[in-house]
């Protein structure tokens, strides 16, 4: 292999130097401690797995008892119906999880669909900049940089199943007053 000419080397060197200089100008984030506890939590999110169906009597899978405030459940069903064209949204799984500042957070309302959340900083209005990864078994379906805010959830339309569709909802709980 021939070595690059001096002028070509300079062509690479200066941008690298500028980047190094730039990166060293700001303080680096602290390295996470080796032991996880106590982990600083930024917010609390609800991961909800819905089965969207045309049939109100569609038999649901065996499940643990999943509860949600009736007003919240009704409001969410109405909002989901504006996006996904199904009349019925059955809540089949729920996981309320803290989002940590320095650790990945897993939201697992189901063994079949789960969500990895990496906190990326605060957003306007008390929301969170997050990196999301929606997993189905060993496969990541989608990766996304987005914002979750109190009152503004993220709806992830997932795979079809039994004539309906699985929908993953992630919503930030309003901070306690």
């Amino acid at each position: 292999m021939t070595s690059p000419s001096p002028s070509r080397r300079h062509f690479l060197t200066l941008p690298l130097a500028a980047l190094f200089s730039f990166s060293h100008a700001f303080p680096r984030p602290p390295t996470p401690p080796a032991t996880p506890a106590p982990a600083a939590a930024e917010a609390l999110v609800d991961g909800l797995l819905f089965f969207a169906s045309k049939d109100a009597t569609t038999p649901l899978p065996k499940e643990d008892k999943v509860t949600l405030d009736p007003a919240v459940a009704q409001s969410l069903s109405l909002r989901l119906a504006k996006v996904f064209k199904f009349p019925h949204f059955h809540l089949i799984g729920r996981h309320t999880q803290k989002v940590f500042k320095e650790y990945e957070s897993w939201v697992v309302p189901s063994k079949d669909l789960c969500l990895k959340i990496d906190f990326q900083g605060p957003a306007e209005g008390g929301g969170l900049h997050v990196h999301l990864q929606l997993w189905q078994d060993k496969k990541v379906l989608v990766k996304s940089d987005t914002v979750i805010s109190p009152g503004q959830p993220v709806f992830l339309g997932g795979p079809k199943w039994r004539g309906g569709r699985l929908v993953f909802v992630v919503m930030q709980q309003a901070p306690a007053k």
């Binding site: 002028s7 080397r9 300079h10 062509f11 690479l12 060197t13 941008p15 690298l16 130097a17 500028a18 190094f20 200089s21 730039f22 100008a25 106590p38 089965f51 899978p61 499940e63 643990d64 008892k65 999943v66 909002r79 989901l80 996006v83 996904f84 729920r94 996981h95 309320t96 803290k98 940590f100 990945e104 897993w106 697992v108 309302p109 063994k111 079949d112 990496d118 957003a123 306007e124 900049h129 990196h131 997993w135 060993k138 496969k139 379906l141 989608v142 990766k143 996304s144 940089d145 987005t146 914002v147 009152g151 503004q152 993220v154 709806f155 992830l156 339309g157 795979p159 079809k160 699985l166």
Partner: protein, 212 residues
């Protein structure tokens, strides 16, 4: 961990001198003995650094690596000409090229950052940037005013077989696991009954084991 690129010794020395990351004695020695070309490069580098610092917020957020890579690849494919046009341009004299090349490359880096900063930041509005590892899957991301929600609608996903029972849970928040240890999630009903155990395989994919 050393995260600097593997450069020839002189280039590495130049980088470390520009970056002021050499021992003080060596810095002072080089300040006196460095060739004029090095001083020119350091001045250009400082100019670029100042430009970047004055133009970017203190907390620059770049997209996640997969998203950034996919966006760059899309831009390259979109902007690449079908064939390189034949050039009739007379090359610059080599002496001119010697100082123009580093300056131009520095300007390119600075322009890239400035353009990144100038375009409407995707995270300033509740819309998602998406990447699907499976190229057959399409992610339609938008903000639904009607639903007051960000929507990521995945199309062309393989359907879950009807015969499959979806195993769902109702579980409470769990603290992070110790490094290398599985994470245990407990029932949300206050019973502290373990419901599911999360571990990761060698490829960092999650492995979930439901506890009967």
């Amino acid at each position: 961990m050393n995260d600097e690129p593997n450069l020839p010794p002189n280039d590495e020395l130049l980088l470390r001198w520009i970056d002021r990351s050499l021992p003080e004695v060596q810095l002072k020695a080089l300040d006196l003995s460095a060739p004029p070309a090095w001083h020119e490069q350091r001045a250009a580098s400082q100019l670029t650094g100042n430009l970047l610092r004055s133009s970017l917020p203190r907390t620059v957020e770049l997209p996640s690596p997969d998203l950034l890579t996919s966006r760059i690849m899309e831009a390259v494919q979109r902007d690449a000409p079908a064939t390189a046009p034949a050039s009739n341009i007379t090359p610059f004299p080599s002496r001119f090229r010697q100082w123009f090349a580093p300056l131009a490359s520095a300007a390119l880096v600075a322009a890239g950052f400035l353009l990144w900063n100038a375009k409407p930041h995707p995270r300033s509005s509740p819309v998602a940037e998406t990447y699907t590892p499976d190229s057959r899957v399409i992610a339609r991301a938008y903000f639904s005013d009607d639903a007051d929600a960000t929507v990521i609608d995945l199309e062309n996903l393989e359907a879950v077989p009807d015969s499959r029972e979806i195993r769902a849970f109702n579980i409470a928040s769990a603290d992070p696991a110790a490094p290398g240890e599985p994470q245990i999630f407990y029932a949300a009903n206050g019973s502290r009954k373990p419901v599911v155990v999360l571990s990761h395989d060698a490829a960092s994919a999650p492995h979930l084991r439901a506890i009967p």
